[in-house]
Amino acid sequence: MLHKILHSIDKKFTFNVSKAHCDIPCKIYDPIEIQVAVLTIIRTTDLLVELNGKEIKTPNDNAQFSRLVAQKEEHGIKVKESVRVIWGDYFKAPQLEKFPETHDLVHKIMLTTSKAKQNIDKDVSLELLSLVNRFAEIFWDTKGVNIYKAKCPYPPALEVVYPDLKES
């Protein structure tokens, strides 16, 4: 009753909103944003290699080169940030006991992301995809969700771990 009255007053006069702020919307964790960021790194790496192979580069090519490098950098930061949030906020004792490799895996993701940011190296970015796919596998297992592997339906068309939400 009291809440309803306050709600009605709020609709008319609007109370100040105070945020009880979380790092991310509470309990919403999904490694897909990490996987998409890594696919973007791979795609930009491919485009950078292609552009680098051109003998004569136009000003447009140079501008595109800078833009791709910036995108690769930005998505590398996204990978690190999103992995840190899932690892730091979602993973707790039960998940870590079931998958003791998690700390080591996360550390490897951090180092490999740095390498992928620093270099135009397809092999490194592919290694990063394999690491984040493993991270996604572990994550979905701890949620009791089955997974399947499929090629992403866009370039670079590589195998990604997806949650099989129909089966779970």
């Binding site: 809440h3 909103v17 009880a20 702020h21 979380c22 509470c26």
Partner: protein, 103 residues
């Protein structure tokens, strides 16, 4: 000057003490005591108006806050808060079921 106000709460970082969608009544005055474990309303440069529980006061006189939920923004991320940024102490909450809780 004594001030009393009502805020609407958005977010779950103070859950289960203050649930998302609750209303809170806060007060402030020049002589308001700032005591650990009590819940305060802060003006944060990054997050705006937020409510958090006071964890401790450091040796430099800065205050460190955190949420009640595990998902809350960490104490470190909120950072050191000065006395001037604390603009109210939460007195009571009214959740969506109209349940009143004094803090």
């Amino acid at each position: 000057m004594f001030k009393l106000g009502i805020d609407k709460i958005v977010g779950g970082s103070m859950s289960p003490t203050i649930k998302d969608g609750s209303f809170v009544i806060f007060f402030s005055s020049k002589k308001m005591k700032i005591t650990p474990n009590k819940v305060y309303r802060l003006s944060h440069p990054q997050f705006g108006s937020i409510i958090k529980r006071l964890s401790f006061e450091d040796a430099d006189g800065n205050f460190w806050f955190k949420g009640d939920s595990h998902d809350s923004t960490s104490l470190k991320k909120i950072g050191a808060i000065t006395k001037q940024q604390i603009n109210g102490r939460i007195w009571l909450t009214i959740d969506i079921k109209s349940c009143i809780t004094f803090l």
